[in-house]
């Protein structure tokens, strides 16, 4: 028997109920695409078959968009279909992203039966006014209802997505978010500092002056309040924006941060195998046609140089609080990190942004929220 190399599998479902004001992802309101959904999921499974064949899949992550916006039969088709097209390890972490208002008891059942063992629910904040500004269609109460349904359907590994640093948000508001979320006792919390992406609705509001971006100082204060609070509540801070109960770190995302191989399928999805990065076409209709007609790589493919791979490995690895393992680095690239980056490292050490600890190079506490200052030294 041939030994398969392992990889993560990412499935992109580019449909949402509606576009959020901060979102610049490849996602579209589902209402306009009803007629295409079935062909899309066909194409998606076709792509899994084409690409995943020679790998053993160690994690699956269905993201979007909002996968749970799919009609029940389509959701079932995708989640069970991948097992026919790919070799998925028994007990592999299998995450589906969900949004309040798209989670029904029936869909939870479909997911559970398909082997989904981790849910990632987008909440963003517990403040209904801020939810409105963010363009979310649900309230905090909607979320709680859904969350409880998921627990009742015996999902034992749930992530809650939060955003901080939203215009109008206060330290007090943030603390309320943290208290309410911790009270729900999720296994995992992702909390992202808001990025005002160009072209998004929210960025336009700020540019037009109808709301005011928070200062860097306030956002930095918020970041460290979050870190200290969640750590005190027993969560491990394991990546710049991610916290988890011990053993509940997201294995799929760790693949990205360790710069390991993953397959990306779906419109606009990216993948990385060895030193090759792929990027699918974003347009849904074109994606479907290309996949049906050509049954092949429809994709933009880019070779990355060794230097680029090293740079990426360093800045992705440093995102994790456990840092970049020096022995692992040497084993992977045959080069000593300190010889390669002597100048950069000593500068960053001097600035107290990096440190060496237990055989790894890590961001310092200050370095976390200034990590770009560190990363630029390595690209």
């Amino acid at each position: 028997m041939q030994i398969r190399s392992s990889a993560g599998l990412y499935l992109h479902i580019p449909f949402c109920l509606s576009k959020c004001s901060y979102c610049d992802f490849n996602s579209y309101p589902v209402l306009g695409y009803q007629g295409l959904i079935s062909s899309y999921t066909d194409a998606l499974l076709e792509e899994v078959k084409l690409k995943a064949g020679q790998f053993s899949i160690k994690t699956v992550f269905a993201g979007g968009g909002t996968p749970t916006v799919l009609p029940e039969e389509e959701l079932k088709k995708v989640l069970t279909g991948i097992f026919n097209e790919a070799e998925i390890n028994a007990g592999a972490e299998f995450t589906v992203e969900a949004n309040p208002c798209t989670i029904s008891v029936e869909k939870l059942k479909i997911m559970k039966n398909a082997g989904v063992n981790r849910l990632s629910i987008g909440l963003q904040t517990t403040d209904d006014r801020t939810l409105k500004l963010l363009g979310r269609l649900h309230t905090y109460r909607d979320f709680v209802t859904n969350y409880k349904k998921a627990r009742e359907a015996s999902f034992k590994n749930i992530n809650i997505d939060l955003i901080f640093g939203v215009p109008g948000q206060t330290i007090k508001g943030l603390k309320t978010d943290l208290e309410k979320i911790v009270a729900l006792n999720p296994e995992h919390i992702s909390i992202y500092n808001l990025i005002l992406e160009p072209g998004t609705q929210l960025e336009k509001y700020v540019a037009a002056g109808s709301c005011k971006a928070l200062s860097d100082d306030v956002q930095a204060d918020m970041y460290y309040i979050i870190k200290d609070y969640l750590e005190a509540e027993g969560y491990t801070h394991y990546e710049i924006s991610n916290f988890a109960r011990k053993g509940k770190e997201c294995l799929h995302n760790i693949i990205y941060w360790k710069n390991e191989d993953f397959i990306g399928v779906g419109a606009g999805a990216s993948g990385k195998i060895g030193r090759k990065r792929t990027e699918n076409i974003e347009d849904i209709s074109k994606y479907i046609v290309l996949l049906k007609e050509y049954k092949n790589d429809i994709l933009h493919e880019q070779k990355i140089s060794l230097a680029e791979e090293i740079a990426e490995t360093v800045f992705l690895g440093l995102r994790m609080l456990e840092g970049l393992n020096l022995a692992g680095f040497k084993e992977r690239f045959g080069k000593d990190f300190f010889i390669l980056f002597k100048k950069e490292y000593s500068k960053l050490l001097d600035l107290k942004l990096l440190k060496e600890e237990e055989g790894s190079v890590k961001l310092t506490r200050t370095g976390l929220f200034l990590s770009n200052e560190v990363f630029v030294e390595f690209v």
Partner: protein, 597 residues
């Protein structure tokens, strides 16, 4: 050749009054160049000149004109630079002519350089033909301009109404040149006497010298003696520009042309020098020669120290064509190795800076420009300082002197009080004012040149709604109460930011400069103090708080390539900054002082 059929003339004008466009029309009309081949404004060679709409180097072109009375004439058109920085070059070009077309914009009327040039041309004894240009424009008021001409003492009956853009009046102008500009006089049998009015560098032929013969003749083989420079070169080629280079056997009295003589550097050629035949020299050179001296100085430093030689080569190449550019190596504690460069004026400096960045692709820092100071030490020694950082310790200085200029401003009377306030604020000393026409006052002030090189021109324009125009000439050095203002960034003196200022303005400037720098210098990983000091006395302090946030919150599979590019872009931005001590300082910080009113 028959000198009666020869006319040497130039075009003079205030900037933007349409000199180059008119030159184009004359070239076109006389068939020197076909419309089809014509790039707008042929005589402005460099891209940069075209973009800025100004002429930097004077050039001479020979035109053949078949007049209305069926005679064949040879015209030499000498194009002159149009900015106050280049006054000396203009005066030398004028000296090579017998006549001048004085171009005046029909809507702008007479301006400072119109008058300055008019006087230069009059002093050079030229026959002046007024041309009122842009009569096609809405807002053209040729009648008013005619009146202004009368007031200058010009004959308005001779004025030609033209639109160079539309080609109106071109033939009339050519006929007027035949009629009014006198043919050159001189004697071909006398020993050679010729004036150098310009030069350029050609990669294949070396230095090409432009000259005008007053007596005698010149041809290949002549040993040309440059009387002021006291150097001799054997002429290998003579010729004229038609406008392409055309070699001919010889040039004689009254003619304008070029010669080539194996000269390697334009700096071996002095504009205004007199050429004679080394084997049969004249006794006295032509009058009015001046050594061109740079008036404004600044440091050029490569951001990347490895580009030092690149910058050196580029400066050398630019110097080949620009004898008024001066540079010598210097080093700064803050900026490392670079060059102290001297320019005729601020515009000249900006042009050179832009060319270095654009044509040679050098990423560099230009420090604040300054004038040259004279320092008399307690030991009685006189030193010239062109870099504030080199000012001797206060204890050693007995006296500091700074250059003064005579400023001439022409303005409609309603802006007079604004302008006088401005001049006073710039430490100007009132001399006089007079009405040059009923609607134009000429104001004279003696002012420190240092007050003029910065933003004077822009401020003048703004306080006069754009109507006032200026011109100036250097007078002398004068004693002044000057101090060196140092800037410290994170407790280190950044020598490249030091300026010399009048004591009365030192506090204000120090405070403003510290504030400016606080805005310009991005937040660093640590708090950065900015201090302004005179000697050991701190007069202003600002502080830049430490950076707290620079983070990519989300980074998953699909983001990686994009985020790497984003980081690369941030890195590029850092590369354009200069690391001084531990602080990264952007280029524009070094010109911050220019932004202070």
């Amino acid at each position: 050749m028959d000198n009666n059929k020869l006319r040497n003339f130039c075009i003079i004008a205030h900037i933007d009054h349409g000199k180059s466009t008119l030159a184009d029309r004359l070239l076109e009309f006389t068939g020197a160049i076909s419309t089809r081949d014509m790039k707008e404004q042929f005589l402005d060679k460099m891209e940069l000149e075209r973009e800025r709409g100004i002429t930097i180097k004077a050039k001479a072109v020979r035109l053949n004109y078949h007049s209305k009375d069926r005679q064949d004439y040879i015209f030499n058109l000498i194009d002159t630079p149009g900015h106050v920085d280049f006054t000396y070059e203009v005066s030398k070009s004028l000296f090579a002519c017998e006549g001048a077309l004085l171009i005046i914009d029909a809507s702008q009327g007479v301006e400072a350089q119109t008058i300055a040039n008019f006087h230069l041309a009059k002093d050079a004894g030229l026959r002046i033909i007024p041309v009122i240009n842009k009569i096609d424009l809405q807002g053209a008021e040729p009648e008013k301009v005619l009146l202004q001409l009368e007031e200058l003492g010009l004959n308005s009956d001779e004025a030609i109404l033209a639109s160079a853009k539309e080609g109106v009046g071109t033939e009339q102008i050519l006929e007027a040149i035949v009629k009014y500009v006198p043919p050159p006089v001189g004697d071909t049998d006398n020993p050679l006497k010729a004036l150098i009015f310009d030069s350029l560098y050609d990669v294949y032929k070396g230095v090409v010298v432009f000259f005008r013969i007053f007596d005698g003749s010149i041809k290949a083989g002549v040993k040309a003696l440059m009387m002021r420079a006291n150097s001799t070169f054997e002429v290998t080629e003579v010729g004229v520009f038609t406008p392409t280079m055309k070699q001919i056997d010889s040039l004689t009295t009254g003619e304008v042309g070029y010669f080539i003589a194996n000269i390697k550097n334009v700096s071996d050629i002095k504009v205004g020098d007199t050429i004679t035949d080394a084997s049969n020299p004249i006794k006295n050179p032509l009058p009015g020669y001046k050594e061109i001296k740079p008036m404004v100085f600044c440091g050029f430093y490569p951001i990347n120290p490895n580009e030092y030689n690149l910058l050196k080569d580029a400066l050398e190449k630019l110097k080949l064509n620009d004898s008024s550019l001066a540079f010598e190596p210097e080093s700064s504690r803050a900026l490392g190795f670079g060059f102290r460069c001297g320019f005729l004026g601020l515009l000249h400096m900006e042009i050179i800076q832009e060319r270095l960045e654009r044509e040679y692709n050098i990423n560099m820092i230009a420090t604040s420009p300054n004038v040259r100071y004279k320092v008399i030490t307690n030991a009685g020694k006189e030193v010239e300082i062109d870099n504030p950082a080199n000012l001797p310790e206060a204890g050693e200085v007995k006296e500091i002197m700074e250059p003064y200029i005579l400023m001439s401003i022409i303005t409609p009377p309603e802006y007079m009080s604004n302008i006088m306030d401005l001049c006073k604020a710039k430490r100007g000393e009132y001399v006089e004012n007079q009405f040059v026409t009923t609607s134009r006052v000429q104001i004279h002030y003696e002012m420190p040149m240092s007050e003029v090189v910065f933003d004077f021109f822009d401020t003048l324009k703004s306080v006069s709604k754009g109507y006032a125009s200026m011109d100036y000439e250097y007078i002398d050095f004068r004693d002044a109460d000057l101090v060196k203002l140092d800037i410290m960034v994170a407790t280190e003196v950044v020598d490249a930011l030091s300026i010399i200022v009048h004591r009365d303005k030192a506090y204000y400037k120090g405070k403003e400069l510290a504030l400016r720098l606080k805005e310009i210098i991005p937040r660093q990983m640590f708090e950065v103090a900015i201090q302004a000091a005179i000697g050991s006395k701190i007069i202003a302090r600002e502080s830049i708080p430490a950076m707290r946030k620079n983070v990519i919150a989300k980074c998953y599979g699909g983001d990686i390539t994009r985020k790497r590019k984003l980081l690369e872009k941030q890195k590029e931005g850092k590369k354009r900054m200069k690391q001084i001590g531990r602080v990264e300082i952007p280029q524009e910080a070094f010109l911050a002082v220019l932004k202070i009113q």
